[in-house]
Each structure stands twice: as C-alpha cells, then as structure tokens.
C-alpha cells in the first residue's frame, strides 16, 4: 500500500502516456467495427508497419542523435507523415485483399476473422524474414528532458509529446467524422448500410476511407511509440493490438469518444495494476480487464449495444 502511495503520481503519468497510445489504436478497431461490424484483427500489423516506416525514415535522414530546434520539428513531421502513409496504405491493402472478396460473398464473421489472422501472420513474417526477429533500436529523436513535476511524478518531454500528439490526432478525427461530408458518410453507413446505399452513399468508398483513417491513427500511434519506447520488432503490434482492442471494448466499441476514454482508462488500470502487483503482471491485468468488461458490462463505459449487431 505504501508502495502505491509513492507510486501514485508516477503511475498516473505513465498510465496516461501508454493510455494515449492505446486510445489511438482503439480508434482503428472502433471505426472499422462501427462500419463493418467486424474486428480488424490485422490492425496490430498496421501499427507494426508504421513503426518500421518511421524507423526507416530516420535511417534515411541519417539521424543518430536528437536534433535540436527547427530541424527537430522537420524530422517529426517527416516521420509522422511516413508512418501515417505506410500504415494507411497497409490498412487499405488489408481490406482489399482479406476482407473485400469475402464481403462480396457475404461470408461469416468467422471467415473474416480467419482471413485477417492469416493476413496478420503473413505481414509479421515478411518483416521477420527481412529484418530478423530481434528488437531493433530506434535512434533518439527527442531529448528526454524533465519539464516539470506533478506531485512526486516527473513529466518528461517525450511523455508530454505522446499525450499531446494523441489528443490532437483524436480531436482532428472527431471533427472529421462529426463535421465533414465524408464523415457523414461514415456515420450513415455505421447506422444502416443498406439505407445509406439507397441514399447514394458509395459503401465501398466509405469502407476504404474508414480503413484509411484507422490506419492513419495507428501510424500516429506507431510514431509516438517509436519516439517513446525507442524499439520495434516484427511482432510488436500483437500486445498493443490486443490492448487497443480492449480499450475499444472498455469504452464501448463503435463509439469514437468511447475509444478515447477506454484507452486512458486501460492505461491507468494496468499501470496501477503493475504498481500493486508487479510489473511482470501488467499484461495479465490488461487481459483480465478485457474478460471482466465483457462479463460485467459488454457494452463498455459509454455504451454500444453489441447485441444489436448480432441480428
């Protein structure tokens, strides 16, 4: 208990940081689920490709240590764009190859899931065979300076970047979905695909757009993950993917603002869980949260009626 009191503020800060990344990942699951009512299992690999894309951009720029001033901003913009572009493209590609042919045939959700798992392992192996199975280090992009203190907790520049970056991305996405014509198409299809189609919405285009948006969010998450943890690996997406999905379910899958709340909530729960038990139990805590949420309140915090989707 004493441990918990000392660890309180550091846990809040760490939980918010990891939670921001989970929230960005959760958005990808929630968007696709909202439109297609399917769990995009390959989303974790969309994230993985994003981390590699930002790493390769850093290598191409010849960055070995943290740049300063204007150069730093330029580097950040470049790696962000690279990660978003790569992840977005992979997400759209996954939809084309693994989902669209099945959708045209009205396959079951089981078939979709199996196809996605195949895709996921295929992508992992492409990177594993090309770049090996070990952890690959990132060069340092951002000096990890201590900015200020909250209680006993220390706010570092990289943690602040992750949280602020994630919040900005979520705000942009929220405005896009709720405020633009294309976003209205997404919401229309999410509500009722056949009626939306009758009203002149091009469903295929909306679905491509949804995967693209989810991919862009995963790309942003990947860039932030790379700058914060400074490593990547061919299977790095797996755990992040499960946690992003847990966050989406926790907040209420299909609900964009729910993904945000779910992400931060999961980040805090697992960091505190780690502080109470032991750091090696963090993942077990997160998985248990998933099972418990499904058991107690399967509609999540903000609520999305899962049973409705069954019909």
């Amino acid at each position: 208990m004493h441990n918990l009191i000392i660890q309180f503020w550091p846990s809040v800060i760490d939980g918010t940081t990891t939670g921001a990344i989970y929230a960005l990942m959760a958005l990808g699951y929630t968007l696709v689920y909202g439109v297609l009512r399917l769990i995009n299992f390959a989303h974790s690999e969309v994230f993985m490709v994003g981390t590699f894309a930002s790493l390769f951009t850093l290598h191409a720029l010849g960055i070995t240590h943290a740049p300063g001033g204007i150069a730093a901003i330029g580097v950040f913009i470049l790696i962000t764009l690279a990660a978003m572009a790569a992840s977005g493209l992979v997400a759209v590609g996954v939809e084309r190859v693994a989902y669209r042919p099945l959708r045209k045939r009205n396959s079951t959700s089981l078939a979709n899931l199996i196809s996605a798992i195949g895709m996921s392992f295929f992508l992992q192996e492409v990177f594993a065979l090309r770049y090996g199975r070990d952890l690959i280090p990132f060069p340092r992009v951002l000096q990890k300076n201590v900015l200020f203190h909250i209680g006993t907790g220390v706010v570092r520049s990289d943690k602040l970047l992750v949280v602020v970056g994630a919040l900005v991305m979520m705000f942009i996405l929220d405005r896009f979905v709720n405020g633009t014509r294309l976003g209205r198409g997404i919401r229309a299809v999410a509500q009722d695909p056949s009626t939306a189609m009758l009203m002149g919405v091009n469903i295929d285009r909306v679905i491509t757009l949804t995967f693209l948006l989810g991919g862009i969010m995963a790309g942003a998450a990947a860039m932030l993950y790379g700058t914060f943890y400074e490593v990547t690996q061919y299977n790095i997406g797996f755990v992040i993917g499960i946690k992003g999905f847990t966050a989406a379910v926790l907040g209420g899958i299909g609900n964009i603002r729910g993904a945000l709340i779910g992400g931060f909530a999961l980040g805090l729960i697992e960091t505190f869980g780690g502080a109470i038990f032991h750091a090696q139990w963090v993942d077990v805590v997160a998985f248990s949260v998933l099972v418990l949420v499904l058991l107690v309140r399967p509609t999540g915090i903000l609520g999305e009626n899962l049973q409705r989707a069954r019909a």
């Binding site: 392992f121 594993a128 069954r310």
Partner: protein, 379 residues
C-alpha cells in the same frame, strides 16, 4: 479485386475440378459402401498407422530427421489437437484462438504433479483432462454469451495469460520451466511398450490409441442430440434457440470437450519430452492448429487429420520451407477463406445443409444429392 478473386476462383476450380470431383465420388462411394467394406477400410487405415514408424517409410517421409520422433510431435500431436479444436470450430462454429492454453494446462499438470508429487502418468491423465475441461468451462461461461468474434479475442487473451502466468509463477518453474518429467510406466518387456528416452515408437502408439479414442468419441457425439444441437447453433444461433436448443449449455459442452482433448494431448506430449518451458506454448501453435482445421475442411474429421498431417509434415520434409512456414500458412489462411472456405475436403453434412431447399440431414437419412453442384459452403 472481387472480380479478380472470382476469376481466380473459377480458374482454380476448373483446374482442380477433377481432383475435387474424384474426392466427391470417393466419399459418395464410401457412404454407400456396405458395413463390411467400411470396416475393412478402417482396419486398413489402422494397420497403415501401426506400420508408419517403419524405417523404410521414414527414409522417404523425413530423410533429414528422426521420423519416429516427428510422428509423435508434431504430426501426432497436431492431429490430436486439430481433432479437439475441430469440435469447437468445425462442429459448434465458435472461434477459439487460445487453444494452446489447454495444451499447456495438460502439459503443466503432467509436469507439476509428476515431478513434485510423483504421480504416475495414468493417474495424471484424467486430472490433466479435467483441469483443461474445467478451465474451458470457466473461460467459456462469461464469454460464450457474446458474439463469436469477441470469443475469439478473449480466448486469444486467455492463451497469452496462461503462457505469461506459467512464465511468472514459481511452481511452474518460471521461464526455465520444469524438467525431469516422468515417463509413462512400461508395460511388460515389449520394446514398443517400454517408455524410455530414445525410442519414440511407444509414445507414438500411445498417441495413436488416443487419436482413435478421440475419433470414436467425437463421431458418436456428432451423431448424438448434442451434435445436432451444435450444427443448429452453428448455422443460426437465434433460430436454434427458438427451436428449443439450449444453445448456451451446448456451447459450454463443445468448449469443454475441445479443451479436454487439448489437455489430453498436453499430458501425452509432456510425458515424452522430459522438460517443458512456457516457450513450448506460443500463440503461433494455436494459429497453426487453426490452419490444420481450416485447411483440411472444418467439421470434417478426415479433412482435419489430412490438414494436420500436411501442416506438421511439410516443413519437416522440405527443410528449405521451414523458414517460410508461417508466411506460407498465413497466405494459405487468407487464400482458403477467399477461394475455398470449405477446406480441401468440405464437410459433407455442411455442404448438404447449404444446398438450398433440400432440407439437409443426409446423415439422418434425408434425401440429399451431394453430387449437386451447390454454392460454396462457408466456415
């Protein structure tokens, strides 16, 4: 994309049509054959399985490694696991992505009870099976009320939890695992029944006996009331519920039976290998077993056994492929779902069910002409 997919489907279908057609007529012949002919067929397969460890067969099947060891693991173990997973995925239509967890529970039951408490193999076997079945029920009870894809993710998480718990606990030996696991007691002085270190044959025969038992039980189950209930809830859960099928109970049953076969397989595996670590139970194994089921034709035992054999044997025979194994199997999963969701040998009953307006139920004596070119069955 959809257009190209369709075209490729047509091309592959027409190229492979003679093969599939002959598979079909073979099955029809088998179903119409008299009882004595079928009994001879079964006997022939069993004799073949008993003779399989022969050196001359091994020289061809696995020239680069010890064929008898490979027959036990991966081939035999994969077949056993695939038969168990087939109950969950193929018969009841639920996706379990953490099936390796039950394999691990069986394995650790054998290791912990055998090493720490000096139980013998035959005492541990029922305990390991019961432990796996119980964990299946505990996992299933909260999650089976949910949609299928949630179940998939939760079971995936469960598989990870089991591996991590085994990695963190002291009773399971942490990352180094447990070693010195006892072998099953030898029977008499027969070399094929004395369980030592070098000769893998006794373990293979033990496993073969288990496979035959599992095939026997699942066949009986499939034709029972429970089996018909599974088919009903796989095809349409709401309709089954309305018709009075206790869907939740039957789902739990499928889950528990699948889990107990996984546990059985785990106990047998651990009894041979002397030492196990959490790394013996990766997520990848769950996926590979799923590939076995889907590739062969989920719901069809012969297909599933063939699928498991191919998945286990091909990388051993063609060592050059071993590196690309996961890449190829990943691609196979996608391709199977896109082009041939029923598997190499689609389940006859399922195919019959999907012939619209024909009532289905060929196995129950219904009038179903399986030769009819029907729509592609779905998983």
């Amino acid at each position: 994309m959809a257009m190209t997919a369709k075209r490729i489907t047509q091309v592959t279908d027409s190229a492979l049509a003679p093969l599939f057609k002959s598979l079909h007529s073979l099955r029809t012949m088998w179903q119409r054959a008299p009882k004595w002919a079928r009994a001879t067929g079964y006997l022939f397969v069993i004799v073949l399985a008993v003779l399989a460890p022969a050196q001359s067969i091994g020289n061809f099947m696995a020239p680069q490694s010890d064929w008898r060891t490979i027959l036990f693991y991966p081939i035999g173990s994969y077949i056993l696991l695939a038969l168990g997973l087939n109950v969950v995925v193929g018969l009841a239509g639920m996706l379990d992505l953490g099936y390796v967890a039950f394999f691990a529970i069986g394995g650790y039951s054998m290791a912990v009870l055998g090493v720490n408490y000096h139980w013998s193999f035959w005492e541990i076997l029922p305990v390991g099976i019961a432990a796996a079945a119980l964990s299946g029920v505990l996992l299933g009870a909260p999650t089976l009320r949910l949609r299928g894809d949630y179940l998939a993710i939760v079971t995936l998480g469960f598989g990870e939890i089991i591996q991590r718990v085994a990695n963190n606990l002291t009773i399971t030996g942490g990352p180094t695992g447990i070693s010195g696991i006892p072998h099953p007691p030898s029977v008499g002085t027969l070399s094929v029944l004395s369980y030592g270190v070098l000769d893998a044959r006794p373990y293979y025969y033990l496993e073969l006996a288990m496979i035959v038992l599992v095939i026997f039980f699942t066949t009986r189950l499939e034709k029972s009331r429970v089996g018909r209930g599974w088919v009903a809830l796989r095809e349409d859960e709401d309709a089954a519920e309305l018709m009075g099928v206790p869907t939740f109970t039957f789902k739990i049953w499928a889950f528990a039976i699948g889990a107990s076969v996984g546990g059985l397989s785990g106990v047998v595996y651990a009894a041979k290998v002397i030492a196990i670590t959490p790394e013996n139970y990766p997520l990848l194994l769950s996926v590979l077993i799923l590939v076995c089921v889907v590739l062969g034709g989920s719901g069809n035992r012969i297909g599933v056994i063939l699928g498991a054999f191919l998945v286990a044997w091909l990388p051993e025979r063609f060592r050059g492929l071993a590196n690309y194994r996961i890449l190829i199997f990943g691609a196979i999963l996608v391709a199977m779902m896109v082009f041939r969701p029923g598997g190499i040998i689609p389940a006859a009953r399922r195919k019959a069910e999907l012939l619209e307006g024909r009532g289905g139920g060929a196995h129950l004596g219904g009038e179903v002409d399986i030769e009819q070119p029907g729509s592609t069955p779905e998983v």
